[in-house]
Point group: D2
């Protein structure tokens, strides 16, 4: 579809917020998010959270919580040891959330084979362990060699959703491919655009892709509480701006984004 | 003490390796490490690992395993929610490792107040929950406003060890301060130099500081198994070199480092 | 204007390529670029080139060459010393290119005051020194406090063009603002979109903004000629991927981009 | 020599400061530097400065000024076009500084062949064009395959000095190799340690290497003059902390470093 093809169609909009703290979970709920995706280390694109963080977030919010299963940063081609870790974590998470309805607890995972195809055998094994809980195939999808084949495989496996930027640097760049993915999916699975969504581009992304759900972090920088700030030392191997700035979801940013999405979905009056 | 002051004194050397995978745990054991420190996200300086990773590492090695309690990157001044997460994780880790001797399971933590002093009340509470397990105050120490006061406080609290780079960018830069810390500690606590230790500087660090233990990652870059490599997309907010390179502990690097340390500790023949 | 407002209007497309080497100048000419913008240190967004580089590029191409006047990276608020350096460079460049027609040599500059407004007094002085040569106000424009006021001031000063990403991270993000700028300019000055333009977004940028000119680097990574590659050392203070990879303009990338732009400008058949 | 071998020997200390602005040139003179090395883009390790900057710095200081000849970042293996640019720049610099004594104007260059050896033919040609002016072989030396062979070649070519970190990440790491280089040079050429020198390590570097000269930038961060600070836009391809922070040489930092070096050179009282 050409840009703007979906302008004016009435669509519901569902906002998912990815978080790595209890504070961000609360902000997501305040802002009207439909669900949260809980990770640790969003700086690495999101890793498996600690069990303590899972417990604290489950207590802090009644929103559906989707839990990331990703044992390390980098690619999505895992060793047997890493696959074992993922199964251990899944079991621990299900046990810790046993009082939750299956629909209010989900899992987020993605695995590829060296040739860039979806690792169907191991994902089938993992999805069986997820029981009735909804599942999202995450942005490993954007590293797949063929999105059409990967889409067919992910539908086949029974995933509920795919989180994707349209195999591009972010959703605005990938909007034409996202639109094509949504058309190809034809309702068999939910395509959730995610990656680089902000208040200034969400309207265009909804209008250009026809997406009914989207994923963002809605984060803002929060100054450290430290008054004494020692310079010249960094704990990080990467190159982060500062030890003295955090990022947390902002309820007001999230609300602004959601309102813009809803306006785009409703179309011109 | 002046540089080289400890050359020729016979000292035992104990190598701790920080890891974030099962493969690195095995490499550490092969190399003769005395213990491992298990984290996730070493790129952020190490965060609390997932319970699945803890279980897998405890199964894979008989080495003492020290578990990081750090709920996010950035500073070491925590909210009540974050403190709660740390206590949840500690409890889950103790339960998962209940069959281990207390000496073969340890915890690694650090908390500061906004003025750069050690957060004694909360650490006292946390250490009580650690029971008989050994505890390390991690590199939050390097962000403290006064290392002498922080050292006194950490000893007071009953920690077993302090992991530190001498309040500098790395241990070679901080060697004079590390030497002063070890002298000031006078055996009341073990000072473990850590940060930037390699095979080419470990001899100097041992000789210049008189340390009997040290901490390193002994990592090497490992090429991704992916044959299909999509460009133009990064999962990371930071600026990592590549999705297609991992870092894992190398047994041979670790052995080289340990041998160099032992030679320095034994002194000239 | 709404996205796609300009689809189907027949517009000429003029491609400017920013370069920092003789090789890239040749690639630009091969690809059909209308002009080049010569800088050093594109990694810092482009600085004043050395006189030797200017001479070599003037010899290597008959394309119009626009020369960057930016004495350092960072903001666009200059000291008197820095302003003096810019005037020295301008004089040296005019002397070195005295045999060129005024239309085939241009200058690129931008200066702001601390409040984010255009530094009109100093720019007026500088433009007087540019004589009949065309002048571009560069992406300092994107850091201005009000683009409407800045646009009026830059037109007033007599600049030929403005290079801008629509005050956003890149041109695709800034497309709505770029469209508004072009409408507001109403032909009084040429608005040249630049920043993040690639073969996969140029059609959308042309269609959504109605721009008749655009600016890109069309670069590709070129492997270093070094066979011996020493690791562990970097000359850079920033965090560049490697000493062993260069970036140069690619004639084939540039051709692809230009063809896509021309197709968008011509509109649907 | 072992660490500390040179403690107590009386040596003169000569401080060279690398700069990329007129302000830093003045700070270097105030601090008692013996000479400055003028570059642009220190963020890339230093590139050839613009002629306007050269003129301004020559006017601003009576210190000897050494001019960088490096046409781009990355490796030190140059195309014929790049070599031509270097010769053009050298000629322009000599013409612009024709009133200076040859001893108060120097050139800084380094060229390697793909196998990591010194590019003797092209450097011989370039050095002939330098006439009586002193010449420094820069940190390309640290990327050479064999420092012993490279040292012999650079002496052979007739360079006055070598700027080096001991083929390591910085001078403190490379101190043992620097000491070996100085011993091997045996006065036939001046070895100038440079790379990562600060007030807290200069004493050790002097004492451990026996160097009589050293090179540093003595920079401090200077806040931008901009009051209006637009976020979300960066001009840089790399990952610099901010558009709103500059780095300039600090006279007081430079004085502190020089005093520490002098104390180390004088040895214990």
């Amino acid at each position: 579809p050409s840009p703007g093809a979906f302008a004016g169609r009435t669509m519901a909009t569902v906002m998912e917020i990815c978080i790595d703290s209890v504070e961000s979970a609360r902000a997501a709920e305040t802002a009207g998010a439909a669900r949260v995706e809980l990770c640790s280390a969003l700086s690495e694109g999101g890793l498996t959270p600690s069990l303590g963080m899972v417990r604290a977030v489950l207590s802090a919010t009644s929103l559906p919580v989707f839990l990331m299963l990703r044992p390390r940063g980098g690619d999505f081609c895992y060793t047997d040891d890493e696959f074992q870790v993922m199964k251990h974590d899944l079991a621990a998470f299900r046990a810790a959330a046993s009082s939750r309805d299956s629909s209010s607890l989900g899992f987020v995972v993605g695995m590829l084979l060296p040739d860039g195809s979806v690792d169907k055998p191991r994902l089938a094994e993992l999805l069986a362990l997820c029981g009735d809980h909804p599942t999202t195939f995450h942005r490993a999808f954007d590293m797949a060699s063929s999105w059409r084949q990967a889409l067919a495989d992910v539908i086949d496996l029974g995933f509920s959703r795919i989180l994707t930027s349209g195999q591009d640097a972010n959703c605005l760049e990938g909007a034409p491919v996202l639109a094509a993915m949504i058309q190809e999916a034809a309702g068999r699975i939910t395509i959730v655009p995610g990656g680089g969504i902000t208040e200034s581009n969400i309207e265009r992304i909804i209008t250009q892709t026809g997406a009914c759900e989207f994923h963002c972090s809605a984060r803002e920088s929060v100054a450290s509480d430290m008054v004494f700030r020692k310079g010249g030392i960094s704990m990080s191997a990467g190159y982060f701006p500062s030890e003295f700035s955090l990022k947390r979801a902002s309820a007001s940013r999230a609300q602004t984004i959601l309102a813009a999405a809803a306006a785009a979905a409703a179309g011109p009056q």
